[in-house]
């Protein structure tokens, strides 16, 4: 049924893990009192009437980090098979990975110089 051994357990555990929040929320819905009166459902803003909503356009300063993250995340994923098979590949693989990482370090240095890693 399963080509890869052990992954039927993954599927089973996914179902059990997903049942935890579902059960918790259903029990909560059955046990907890319910009242819809008053200001209860007003958005919290330190005791004041909320001024406008939060769904507005504003400058997200983190998007440059997100871009750099994608580059390095993909890099790390590429390095995983290299690391697992490294004992069979030897010196040449080491030099190849060195070149690969050097290119990305140049990219990191560029992003650093350009101020992409500055928060302000």
């Amino acid at each position: 049924m399963f080509v890869l051994p052990g992954y039927d357990a993954f599927l089973g555990f996914l179902l059990i893990a997903a049942a935890v929040p579902v059960l918790a929320l259903v029990t909560n819905a059955l046990l907890a009192p319910r009242s819809r009166r008053g200001e209860r459902r007003l958005t919290y803003e330190s005791g004041m009437e909320p001024v406008g909503g939060a769904w507005i356009q504003f400058n997200i300063r983190y998007y440059m980090f997100a871009l750099v993250f994608v580059i390095f995340d993909v890099e790390t994923v590429f390095l995983y098979p290299w690391a697992v098979a490294f004992h069979r590949l030897g010196l040449l693989a080491f030099i190849e990975a060195l070149v690969f990482i050097a290119i990305l370090v140049v990219a990191l240095a560029y992003a650093w110089r350009k101020g992409a890693l500055e928060w302000s």
């Binding site: 935890v20 929320l25 319910r34 958005t43 995340d73 697992v84 004992h87 990975a97």
Partner: protein
């Protein structure tokens, strides 16, 4: 040389059922949910103990007494808190997005529980020894920020939105050094499987643990794991002085409890993974073969194997709770960092260090293959 008898509960249990006349497929189906439920219960008990420890140790650090009325020494306090949250009213703000608001905490807690799939407590004492092992945890841990971002956005509250954005920025910044630190360990064990990673650290007891060969990797991993768990000094997404409670601001009752549960399960999980990756997993500080011969016992004897498997579970839990203890002490020792300091530390310090550590490991493995896993 592997011992001829090892503690393998699955083989024993299935053998027993199959002897009663069931097919192998049926016996596997009956076996499968048992370790999962056991691990789930263990995780929840682990969280209750951790919450109690956190409150007691925090109290000691501040010269208070802490919880003392619920059970002996207040040990039942976390359970009382959980029961209280279970009967609390669930409030969804009128302006929030109801569906995403509910889905957020679920997405936070499910991957964290699912990661326990690969935590080994012994040679065969884990739910499933899947081939990609530790990589599965890295993949699952990237799902969590989506849940945080989702709940921050869905609340339609400014504090929540800022908290959610901070949580996402923080966890993507610390994920890469974390993955690179794991990569160096993977390179030494030539495998992604958590069982192989622990096996590679056995032989000479405490001296063969990875912490001696990967001291930098250990520190990078533990710092990043604390940042991923949003523990102080990295708890900016829920910094109460600035953001009330960050993405949790609008949450009450069971949904809040899910966030709480998720963060503590994550802390215990991270401590267990540090144990597996760097502290020899279920291994003793002294080689078990040497201990057995000292006591005049045959290592293959069933009784010795059962005792050593039990002690292995105790060792794993002890090491993990030592790390949980340091995490709690760190909380009262180090002040919270600022968001720009946090991102600088991740990108400009930990990332280069983790890269250098990886390349150094590769170079050392080429130079001294015997010491660095062949």
């Amino acid at each position: 040389m592997p011992p001829s008898f090892t503690v393998d509960l699955e083989a024993g249990f299935r053998g027993l059922i199959e002897a009663a006349g069931l097919s192998p497929a049926a016996s596997r189906l009956i076996w499968l949910p048992l370790p999962m439920l056991l691990v789930l219960v263990a995780a929840v008990v682990g969280v209750l103990v951790t919450v109690w420890l956190e409150r007691k140790i925090s109290a000691a650090a501040q010269q208070r007494i802490g919880p003392e009325y619920a059970g002996a020494l207040g040990i039942l306090q976390p359970m009382a808190d959980g029961l209280k949250l279970l009967v609390k009213e669930d409030v969804i703000p009128a302006r929030a997005d109801g569906l995403l608001f509910t889905l957020g905490p679920v997405l936070v807690v499910v991957p964290v529980i699912l990661s326990w799939l690969i935590v080994p407590f012994g040679q065969h004492l884990l739910i499933s020894n899947v081939g990609i092992g530790i990589f599965l945890w890295i993949a699952l841990s990237s799902v969590q920020p989506i849940g945080l971002l989702m709940s921050g956005y869905a609340s339609n509250n400014k504090y929540s939105l800022l908290g959610g954005l901070r949580a996402a920025a923080q966890s993507i910044s610390y994920e890469i050094p974390l993955a690179l630190a794991v990569l160096a360990v993977v390179m030494m064990s030539n495998s992604l499987s958590t069982v192989d990673i622990v096996d590679q650290q056995s032989g000479a007891g405490i001296l063969s643990w990875n912490i001696w060969r990967q001291p930098v990797g250990f520190l990078v991993f533990w710092i990043c794991a604390l940042a991923e768990c949003e523990r102080l000094p990295f708890d900016l997404p829920e910094a109460e002085e600035e953001l009330v409670a960050g993405y949790q601001t609008e949450y009450a009752g069971m949904k809040f409890a899910l966030f709480y549960l998720g963060s503590y399960i994550n802390l215990v999980l991270s401590a267990l993974l540090v144990t597996v990756l760097y502290l020899g997993g279920w291994g003793f500080p002294l080689p078990v073969e040497w201990l057995a011969s000292l006591l005049g016992q045959n290592i293959d004897a069933p009784l010795v194997q059962v005792v050593s498997a039990t002690l292995g579970i105790v060792m794993t839990v002890l090491k993990a709770y030592l790390l949980v203890f340091t995490a709690i002490l760190l909380r009262w020792t180090v002040p919270r960092v600022r968001i720009d300091q946090l991102l600088d530390f991740g990108w400009k310090f930990l990332l280069p260090i983790a890269l250098v550590n990886l390349l150094a490991t590769a170079a050392l493995k080429l130079a001294f293959p015997a010491v660095f896993g062949g």
